[in-house]
């Protein structure tokens, strides 16, 4: 009897006997919150309250930012050049570093035993995508390739060569897939889409300018030849100097080899299906024409 001890001991006793935690019982650790400094109040900040002596400064009538007293300001003197031309029409890809991906996996926000998709990243609040702001998805960036050590099946919209090498070195799979803006919105926020009651749309193919990117095996494009991808994997391993692990012998091979159909947005759901959240049901069309359209 004297040998059995409750795990936790006195701490647990205290916890069990103290009242409920509420805002009234909490206070920050001393030293964490530094008092904000309020300028211009009191003895030596008084009088003019930190505004200076007369003039526009004290009276709050300073001219606009960039004004140089009448001299042609810098932002007008420098001639324009087309750096920002058409900037609002350019596709943007939110970067995802391997550092961040490893962080998310370590904290358990993203599940490496399931295929990692943009939906999973958004659910784990790993990236923030704004489909309405010309975001076309996520790009995998090679920063942190040295410390990355997770076997994942990840699907992104763009990936740098270093990042692909780092993931494949650890026995994972990378795929780059294109999502047109509507599909991207559906992918990022699936639940509001299901609540709207629309059938899942089919993913459109990339535009002519991106077709070469997604049909290239070096980028692990989803439209590329699987054999060429295998060759590219071997070539990349030789280039970066690592032995390509054989994922066919892996226990998670089935999960790692899961790839979406070019017209599919979600794993396990086909275009044309309606997912009902209220009754947890999936409705599938039976009309021939609809089926033909959604499976084309």
């Amino acid at each position: 009897m004297s040998f059995t001890r409750k795990p936790g001991g006195k701490a647990l006793d205290i916890l069990q006997n103290l009242p409920r935690i509420s805002l009234a019982n909490l206070r920050p650790e001393p030293g964490t919150k530094k008092a904000e400094k309020k300028r211009g109040r009191g003895q030596h900040g008084g009088n003019r309250s930190g505004r200076g002596h007369k003039g526009e400064r004290q009276r709050g009538n300073r001219p606009r930012l960039g004004f140089e007293g009448g001299q042609t300001p810098f932002y007008l003197a420098i001639p324009k050049y087309g750096y920002n031309e058409g900037h609002s029409r350019r596709a943007q890809y939110q970067p995802l570093t391997l550092n961040r991906l490893q962080y998310l996996i370590d904290l358990g926000r993203v599940d490496p035993t399931q295929p990692i998709d943009l939906t999973q990243l958004v659910n784990g609040r790993g990236v923030t995508i704004q489909p309405q702001k010309r975001d076309y998805g996520v790009q995998l960036v090679g920063e942190g390739a040295g410390i990355f050590a997770a076997k994942v099946n990840i699907e992104v919209q763009m990936a740098s060569e270093e990042a692909i090498a780092a993931i494949e070195r650890n026995g994972g799979m990378v795929t780059t897939g294109f999502y047109d803006p509507r599909s991207l919105a559906v992918l990022c926020k699936p639940v509001p889409f299901f609540i709207s009651g629309q059938p899942i749309p089919k993913r459109m193919l990339p535009g002519e300018d991106m077709v070469p990117y997604y049909t290239d095996a070096a980028n692990r494009g989803y439209l590329a030849d699987p054999e060429k991808i295998q060759k590219a994997r071997i070539a990349l391993a030789q280039k970066y100097g690592y032995i390509l692990p054989d994922i066919s012998k892996d226990e998670l091979f089935h999960m790692l080899s899961m790839i979406k159909d070019p017209r599919q947005i979600f794993f396990g759901l086909s275009p044309g299906w309606v997912v009902n959240m209220a009754e947890k049901k999936i409705l599938k069309p039976t009309d021939d024409k609809l089926l033909q359209y959604y499976s084309s």
Binding site: I195, T215, L252, F267, V274, V275, L283
Partner: protein
């Protein structure tokens, strides 16, 4: 993946250790190198579908606004309340007419992959051909360059030489004039010009004589050579 999304409302509240989790359908027999892998299963924000007190507008009444009788609103009703909203699920999908429109639009704006690949190929070929042509032109011109450089240099040299010759000639003439007339005269005066023309005439005569002599020599030499050959 779909199952994990649909099970949003019934997710586990606390951190679940992989092996013990009852929700996951398959049990990984061995974890990664013996490491425990924890996945955070958050309690998601509740879906406020308001199933107990749904507002389903009266389709026959005139008081309901028009926008609540549209197909889009019906779909939203179905999405929120399910079959209890009283909407025929077949209305969720586009009608045949709408489907035709959609197909036509897609055919126009989204060509199939083969067509796009062909276009891409054509464009690349064009660009390559252009680049090749330009490079050929550049190479051809570069090949011409040494000759052009030499020509230019020769021209410059000749021009310089010409100037020098001109100067020398003028100085000689001046010296001649000086000798003949005994004083430094202006090269623009008529006397000087007369003298110059005289000198030129003399030089012409000399040249003619030289030419005649050369011709005679040439005409003499071949018969002599031929006779020498024939004789030897």
């Amino acid at each position: 993946m779909a199952t994990s999304m649909l099970c949003r409302r019934t997710a586990i509240f606390s951190w679940a250790i992989r092996r013990v989790s009852p929700l996951k359908s398959y049990n990984p027999a061995s974890s990664h190198c013996g490491l425990l892998h924890q996945i955070a299963n958050y309690n998601p924000k509740p879906l406020k579908l308001n199933l107990k007190d749904p507002y389903i507008p009266d389709r026959e009444s005139e008081k309901t606004p028009e926008w609540q009788k549209t197909a889009k609103y019906d779909r939203k009703l179905f999405g929120r309340y399910g079959s209890s909203s009283g909407i025929d699920p077949a209305k969720l999908w586009p009608s045949h007419a709408q489907l035709e429109e959609m197909i036509a639009e897609e055919r126009e704006w989204n060509p199939p992959l083969q067509v796009m690949l062909k276009n891409v190929e054509v464009k690349m070929k064009e660009a390559n051909a252009k680049r090749l042509a330009r490079e050929k032109l550049v190479a051809a011109n570069m090949a011409k360059m040494p000759k052009m450089v030499a020509d230019w240099r020769k021209e410059k040299r000749e021009a310089k030489q010409k100037l020098k010759d001109e100067k020398a000639r003028r100085e000689r003439l001046l010296a001649e004039a000086r000798e003949r007339f005994g004083y430094a005269m202006d090269p623009r005066s008529p006397k000087f010009l007369e003298m110059v023309s005289e000198i030129e005439k003399e030089e012409k005569k000399k040249r003619k004589l030289m030419k005649r002599r050369l011709k005679e020599e040439q005409s003499h030499v071949p018969p002599a050579a031929s006779s020498a050959d024939s004789s030897s």
